[in-house]
Symmetry: D2
Subunit: 276 residues, 4 copies
């Protein structure tokens, strides 16, 4: 998702320095005018605003604190925005490191997927200082249409994890219901049709269920990332002493499918728990 976000920044006239663990992945951005940094640190040193977008907490820790990490390159007075989905605990650790360096920091995970990133239609969930958000609105506005200021650093991640837990359970519930109906000898399509006429209607019903019926699991949001996010949500809940029985049950179903899968699948492939 970093690429389409970067393209929108370039189109809007921003100067962009990029770094990717796999340098070829930066090609398209470089062709469009971005400079390519050799290390995360170099990218940070070159920028007034540093933006990171990686797949999980270890990847982010490596980018920030690894050899030639970005944190060492951040200048006092600059701003750092992380749009990865990671744990609120890691976000708080980053926030403290930034504060010690005089760097302003926002956690700003997104929703909207590949499509939203390309169209500049992302929704940002923001944790951090309201003033910093105010300053960054012109930058965020190039990549998204909406942002929500949700509280201090960590709040963005907390809301994002809660929302992804809901999505995982909505898709999981749809999968359980389809499995039941089909094993009873009925048509899954009919369940979907009735649902559209009821309070059970939902974005998941519109977007995911037709693909689940066809068994088309080309990754839009990969199952391995949804599985990771469920793990982060449960980790947070278990630190706080909040029991999440259904989320925990659903996570093990996603885990089962992840363990059996040989290819990269969308998270709606949770259906494979019942149909192989």
């Amino acid at each position: 998702m970093g690429r389409p976000m970067g393209m929108n920044l370039l189109k809007a006239g921003h100067t962009l320095t990029v770094w990717n663990r796999t340098p070829e992945r930066a090609k398209e951005l470089v062709a469009a005018g971005a400079k390519q940094a050799k290390t995360p640190r170099e990218a940070a040193e070159a920028s007034e605003v540093l933006l990171t977008m990686v797949s999980d907490p270890p990847a982010l820790e490596s980018v920030l604190w690894g050899p030639d990490g970005a944190l060492g390159g951040l200048k006092a007075g600059s701003t750092y925005i992380d749009s990865s989905t990671v744990s609120p605990a890691l976000v708080k650790k980053i926030a403290q490191a930034c504060q010690e360096r005089g760097v302003k920091f926002l956690d700003a995970p997104v929703t909207g997927g590949d499509w939203g990133a390309r169209e500049g239609n992302l929704v940002f969930m923001i944790g951090g200082e309201a003033e910093t958000l105010k300053e960054m609105e012109p930058v965020l506005g190039v990549m998204g249409k909406k942002w929500f200021h949700l509280g201090p650093n960590g709040a963005g991640q907390t809301i994002k994890l809660a929302m992804n837990a809901i999505l995982a359970l909505q898709v999981g519930a749809m999968a359980e219901a389809l499995a039941l109906v089909q094993r009873a000898g009925l048509q899954g399509a009919q369940l979907l049709e009735v649902m559209q006429a009821s309070m059970a209607r939902s974005g998941v019903l519109d977007v995911k269920s037709p693909l689940m019926l066809k068994g088309e699991y080309k990754p839009s949001f990969p199952l391995r990332l949804m599985h990771k996010d469920l793990g982060l949500a449960l980790e947070l809940a278990n630190q706080l002493g909040v029991a999440l029985p259904a989320t925990a049950a659903a996570r093990e179903v996603y885990n089962y499918v992840k363990g059996e899968a040989k290819e990269d699948l969308d998270y709606s492939a949770v259906m494979r728990f019942w149909k192989k």
Copy 2:
């Protein structure tokens, strides 16, 4: 729900004979022109079309096979429509008993709640013969705007149970996410606001989540009935050998709240698992 359905039948000019275990509950319908039967059997004997609406399988078995039960009063050539939510197994037993008597039978559970019943806006999920449904459309059309023919007897109940399992999980997921966010010190309302801008939007988000935030649990669909329906869905799934891990986890949360509750609550009161 039988009362508003009956009122709509009377308004449409149908002759109506009613029976209720608690006779006073039939008052309003009698005042509006219905005859009152002394037994379920008497109601069945008086009718071309028998319609039943009770709260669970034992209640339906009692109405049909108990002392002066309705089944003994059904005439050959008449039609029986059951709109209760019960098990597909019971529906199949009823279907066989009807066939032996030359009675046409539809399982026709509904969605739409009290409001839908009053407004003649119910949605019927139908199992049974297409021809019988065709004949009954003028009757159903008085009480609802939509009906779906889903398969042979039992199909209506199967789809209804699958849909209620989804609703219970959607509400349960919302409750888990709100509990997480609030325990983390954030505002539940902000989670709802972000969800509206995302694929996590849903009927449950629109209708139930604002009440969950306020802790207002006046029963629209009572928790004890949702808990019963989850039990029926799991019973069916366990007969078919379809594992439903998240539904099973959610059922125990509803069970916990049911066990602690002293008053009748809406199923969105599942939130009380976390907040007492």
Copy 3:
């Protein structure tokens, strides 16, 4: 299990009249001196003490209330002992029917399996009047060595269901732990060896785990019956408003394996959830 129990009764000099849904199954007992009844009613009419042992609640309801059911044949002053594992709710219904007929009734489910039944080594869990139990001790003593008076009718079943839930979870826990250890590339046998030296030692570790390691699932106690008992335990718990999250999770794992299995398996085959 009825056969070895009957053999012990015959060996002890009791007169025995038997009935089995599948008449050939009574052959061995008839060859050993039992009379064969044509119906459950006939068996009840011929006996001072009626003993039933069937596989589930519907089978018991059919034997008692079906055509030529046993209940109609029970004489006032006689005693009825049921050793099936069924719901406390059904037991209470039977208790009332017996009382109306002047019949003394004990619910007396057993533990000890095939081996215990053959060796006259069953353990009886008794619900009912202490006096009735006192009178029946000579009969029970032919089939078992131990009995526990646990409370009024239903208490025997309640304790039996609680105990089977524990066994199912112990075996399920063993299966989860073996699956984890083996997927991590280690030897399951080593887990078992360490457990024997710790507080995790158990009857299940001694008896079931070696077979789970070998994947030998010849039914000692069939998975379909353990799955049924888990259903009965959860049904009871959900009537009482007692949440059983781990039991509910385990039931779905047994359900999954039951749904996939083509042959009759021991309940330790719950391991097949991970290893096919």
Copy 4:
């Protein structure tokens, strides 16, 4: 547990240098002849064999890699034994760091509790080189009677986590069964008595269930540590793609109780989910 282990080392004539985050906790050992190090590094520098025993992964990371961490003090040719319960992933990271320094390393978590530590009766679950274990047997033999060589580094932790998951589920199963039986109006003690006569007998039944009946939860093995170990087991299982539905359900029950508890409790206090 470090204190009684240290006392046994001193009694056996070993020279001991100790470090504890809370220096007063080392008093008793110092009075008995141990030298007190000012930092973990100092303790490592002073020793041929370094032994660590802390409560969780972050504590161990801090002791090894924090300011004046032990890792920097380990001499080439020395041996490091960690007896904490942590993740296999952390163990593998430690193993690599040790190898780079020419240090021999064993992961050696224990079972046996406070009592076992005092009596020199611990059981060690060992991952690492067989040769290193051979060399360390005289040291281990001072603190325990048994050790099992289970595989390469990480194997000790994996078996330990699997075993604790089993214990947590056994205690959780006992709690669910007691809750069911008591809510049904029966005596929990009777369930325990019947279990002793059956295959459901276990170490947990002997040791924990009498305390659960009395509601005495003085920590022998604290609930917060069992909850942590369940988290580590699930983290490992989710990395490996092994679904653990019952373990996941049980973890949320422990989580619920941890979230409500105001004092330090034994893990058998999981009963408080039902009885407050």
